[in-house]
Symmetry: D3
Subunit: 327 residues, 6 copies
């Protein structure tokens, strides 16, 4: 069974029409969410499922598409309304196609807001809508100033406490980026590197030993710069960096084989989970392979040094264990 | 002939899907505008025309829907890309249904940007796309800080110079509002009041005697507070306020008869142009009349003190003169 | 009996000499308030009374002149010292001429300050000085950034709680305006519109059912744009806008008859209170009538559709009831 | 002959009533300056002259009272209107009592404004109104952020160039102070110390060899800390600090004899000018002497180590030379 | 016995090498402090002692060199790490040469931080390291914005409470200055003037009657401007300024004899403590005397109007009493 | 011959003592640079050379140590003084050991400053001191706000123009990082990723076809995420990403073999230059290899798929060509 833990909702255009209106009105006045009919939703779902079938994915976890999160749009209510709406769409999609999808909740984050403001929506998604994970944006400022607290900061503790209680993994994934010099797609990578180092240098795991973080996009730059951080750790007599890294999990959303090979070498198959973000950035035909970049199953299958057990963990086992799946 | 000078484009959902993507990506990376097929556009147009036919409007001027302008979204390129795209949509709509529509250009305004950055798009719209007017947002900050320069400030002169040369009227219309205490729909009203007073207290008309401003929504609060401003003018021996007000034009986008009556009394039929924003805020059934609020033709026709000539000017004559229409 | 609920203190020049010194010194060093002799105060009062007699006003409620409030002058102590001083002047004026005046308290508001800082002065004015109302500035930023919380925001609740206990009406009236594009006199109007909408969209009346708000200047732009807000309410199935508006009271400080007629039509005589701000903005001879603009008694008396009972309420009854007057 | 080069205008209360109105209205709307009658002005002048006669002062140079300058009040036009108005008052006072007074011009400074904005008023005062000097505020931010450029910075050069051409001395005198921890009267002292060091460490005198600066209040803290700055100069092989200090002039507005003695020792009688600021801060009876603190003539006369020639320079000679007086 | 209460640590270059690294790394990553060997430290100490011997100083209190405090360097941890490290160096120096030195603690201040963050290091220095005093920076912003609260503000009370309990005197001494127009050495002087006035105008001594403040550099500008502040006090019927000043103590770190004479006249020998900052700013040969500027012992000895008892107090007695020394 | 193009100066502690003083004084007052004797400098050099000899490096290019650059320390003069001083130290080191070293210039960058301010020091270093390259910090804000312009922005063009004329390669290397969540060592990596993408998406190479950029640390995260950017390029019909990347050069300062192998695969040996930063972050014994992490020569030599020609280019040939070396 192939479980793709990193997918995002594919919604009908009406969802984005509402997004435009919400952006324009800033939620004031706001009356009610637009009603989407099942047919419109299902039409998109069928296309989505077709894409999954094509590459042999059996199940995908879907969360709100991060770059559309509007976390930094003022005022705060925009983030709350939009997140609730998109989570609802996801819940309906999972309900319509429970064989293919599970929900991962977006959170109504906002720059400078009390992180506790996210807890009601978190609980609603997990407890009422049955979502299996939660997506966390380490930079709700979306590239603006001031910098947010690092994920190792106590700012996040009230949220962590609740997530640990709910026992759902956190997918670390940043959102849009307002800086003219940094595209959102590169911002993802940089934020992941910062998130990893902030967590690994912190006391988070002492306070929340059961918290499970999955870092998107195979961990930003960190697997490529292991030597640098190994040296720092040795210099300061702190725990071995390679051991520390294994406190975290990583997905395989990295569209080159040579990079995935590196990831398997330095992270290992116990801490990697199959993910593709399909459809998304990688849904472009790679002229050299004749497959889309995000068709990662054959890529992983072709890595010679991986055992069948390794592959099974990555494709299925790790996800089932982490997300408490009984399928 | 009934000419509605204040309408906005009604676009297919795909337009807003692009808006969402542009907001999320901030135009980085950006490749090209999505291709919309004529059918999708025409489907919306037919619904739009049906609404116009229903209330007896023969022609409507359409501009980008102001509250969706994204003028204050960072970085500046978002405003440029979005404005160009929407103006293109409008141009295609006018081309598809030239009997019903004329285009009014949006401008790629941005907080703190040089106002000259708007001139290329202005010229493109008027000279290449044949637009008959231009929509100007007096608050590209969209309710943020610092306050923009008032419309009477020299900041705007390079734009005014170009508009005067192109000889198209300016529709004053603000956009979204980020302030949690002020809805965009109220922001429209307040910005119109500020715009009127800033212009009337300035030297703009001495420098640009042929510039034509049309103030949306019947002039914000000013017609209701004529006494206040009359008193100020008398107190300071400046030109009579009622005379000054006639340097500007106003539309009839005000959804109560008692207010329109007041407007006709204090502004007069030479300076009022028929406008409805249909479909828009007023497209709701008024249970007392059985008509939508924006069905303003019968309202105006029922104002007893207006002559036929008055009505002809408001419905048709003033617009033809101001916008140099030969229909 | 004619009761003008919207007047401001007319003080001797020495009061403003102290204001200049306070502005210059920012209250540091500060020793004590200057001593004003009764004669200087009474001389101004007699002129003030003469103006009231001339237009047939029997009693006027006087508060600090809002545009001089210095709420945004740094540091906070300037606002406290100045407000206390002016409230003292008003108390002496009422004491000297109790037949003509009642006091309405200014509050020592300051941008970003805890609203509780205003409560001691509020209680002093009502409980010790016998004031019958309180004047509230919805924008202590005086046009600066960031925007203050709307009057519907919980920020104001501690103050509302105290005012409800004291059972005095609130006169909503903004102050100076630092923005170069917006005169303070227009800022009044815009702030009133914002205040009305913020209150009517809030839960304030659920928490404080006995709170009484009087909006200055006949409610800013709202009576002129009833159609717009009626449409919004119908669109969202919220309570009828016309009903909502009646949760508030309004004064008649609007210097044109056509506007007052509109106000009576849409607000009604139960919610309008006679006010003139005399002497003030409207104290200029209207060449068309031969009266000053703020001589509003004959204007109201001439409105044909008002009954004697209507006029009695507006001139006297509503004020007596709202302000608990026993005269 | 006793010439007091540091006095400020004593104006009737109506001047401050206008100040209050200007502060409240921010100059918008603004019509015209209030008309003051000669009697009101002369009444104040006679009291002022009586004070001068009492302490034996023959002539005083008067400038706008610095702490009332409103340089940092937004928007910029407030500073322009107020400065022009006060300079006009001073011009009328000099005209009414030319035997006693000479004018020193205030400048319409404003935070962040182009310093060239001050030149028209400077020229008007010197060329049209016959003023003999100009008062310069080294901190138009009035204690706010960001810090202004030091007086040695090129920011001020366009103004210096014009002042050098007009050949009038500059009296360095700061204004109000918004910081809660620093009174304006202490701010004067600190700003003078900063101004001295900024000028002495700069190239100003190389570019403007004929510019004449008079530092108020005997030079802030510098004469008391000569040793500190002597050491710095020796340490860095720069010109001797005592020599450098003599590029500037200082007044005697320091209300203790022991401090004046120190000043004469370290500055010398060639660079000190008699000044009292009478009436002002020092116009309080000193219980130990039976004179007011600002009655400095007997204090200086009693300094034993001063020769008659020294005293003549300080009381009269230096002022005549610096200010090109022919009396 | 000659006790110099105002000295600063003279540390080996390795200390500043660590400072550079800490500045560069901002304490992230940070492992441990560098190990300095006793020899390197003692070599510097012997040079330091030689300087003291040369001028006849028997004991000096040493604190962190203030202009190197890095209080405003972001993030806050830089200040904490650096302060702890330098205090440790001082503790070792005192331990190595207990006959010559006593420690005065630096505090890890930081702009906007809770002042309670300084208490653990304060207690460590006094209770564990045996320091006899504490150095307080009244401007941890180091010339930046916004201004810090004045020393009379309640912001500082939690710290004062702890210091009073520990019964150690506070040496007021500011640090670096980021403003281009103000050198740190002048900033010292201005901050001292502000500190004095803020304390003397406050309630600090009512709340903390046993708190002892020593103002560096002979009190900034205040002794030179006693007349000004005497006048203010008399004008407002507040306590006599000369009496108030004696609530504070001052050191003699002022490198000109005429200024020290003035200080002894206005402050008196009960409130002055011998201090030189040797080696420091004054360690330059004064060509007129053949001694370094900071060789203040002969200067004070040569002040004719001081009695032997006066000198004994200043050189030794006041320090022993204030700092509870048993030597 | 082994040429290490990425080394930094190893300076005696006195250099950092001066850094501390400069930080504390902010260059005001500033007299002259401290004099360092040749012996102190040479002692450090000999240790440095010993390290190079140990690992078989024949020549190293040395630049200012980036994390100590103090680019964001206010005011701007700190950056200018410090950069000039360190460049001077490097020039002396090269002069003392010309067989081992070549100089790479630091630039006196500062947030918000005109980039032209760096040109005099650039020219001095190349034309007078004979430096062979220049080090450019893409983030002179050092992690502060607002974000600097990306390296592809026209802001940098005046500098690029001059560098192209001087024909020296640019080493891209960021400096300190003020953000509490991001260590400077990770900031290096993130800034490199941003720099690469900003340059590759820009027109810089069209305007400056001869400009040569060397990206430090093997290009941040980009080689690890080639798939992601390949997909973007294909999606938008822009030039192939792998080709674009070859417009830049990269060094080998990456301390893990698996990452270097990846780099050689995706970048190729024509665009990689040997670099180690020795001594620096990697100068720690790797317990698994028994070598320090920065002993990269054997690591590269052991990469099986590299030919001798490949290695020659990386160790020597590319550097000679790029830096115009004749050795």
């Amino acid at each position: 069974m192939i479980i793709d833990i990193h997918g995002h909702t594919v919604a009908p255009p009406e969802v984005y029409q509402f997004q435009g209106r919400l952006l324009g009105s800033r939620g004031n006045p706001f009356d009610k969410f637009p009603e989407l009919n099942d047919e419109a939703i299902n039409n998109q779902l069928l296309k989505h499922i077709e894409l999954l079938n094509k590459v042999g994915t059996d199940m995908q976890f879907i969360s709100p598409r991060p770059y559309l999160a509007m976390h930094s749009i003022k005022p705060e209510r925009v983030s709350h309304l939009w997140t609730e709406f998109v989570n609802n769409v996801i819940a309906r999609q999972v309900e319509l196609q429970p064989g293919y999808f599970r929900g991962v909740a977006g959170l109504p984050q906002h720059p400078g807001a009390d992180i506790r403001d996210c807890i009601p929506e978190l609980k609603r998604c997990v407890e009422e809508l049955g979502f299996v994970g939660v997506q966390l944006n380490p930079d709700p400022m979306e590239g603006g100033a001031p910098d947010p607290p690092g994920l190792g900061d106590e700012y996040w503790y009230p949220l962590y406490e609740e997530i640990e209680k709910l026992d759902v993994p956190i997918l670390i994934h940043s959102a849009s980026c307002c800086s003219p010099r940094e595209s959102y797609t590169l911002h993802f990578i940089n934020e992941e590197s910062i998130a990893i180092m902030s967590l690994l240098e912190s006391d988070v795991f002492e306070h929340f030993p059961n918290l499970k973080f999955v870092v998107s996009h195979t961990g930003g730059a960190i697997p490529f710069h292991m030597g640098r951080f190994r040296a720092w750790r040795l210099r300061s007599n702190k725990p071995d960096f390679d051991e520390s890294v294994k406190q975290l999990y990583f997905d395989t959303v990295n569209y080159s084989k040579e990079a995935l090979e590196l990831a398997f070498k330095v992270i290992g198959s116990d801490n990697l989970l199959f993910g593709t973000e399909n459809p998304g950035t990688g849904s472009v035909m790679n002229p050299e392979t004749g497959h889309t970049f995000d068709d990662l199953k054959p890529v992983i299958e072709s890595i010679e040094f991986l055992t069948e057990e390794d592959k099974m963990k990555v494709f299925e086992g790790n996800a089932k264990k982490l997300y408490n799946l009984n399928i």
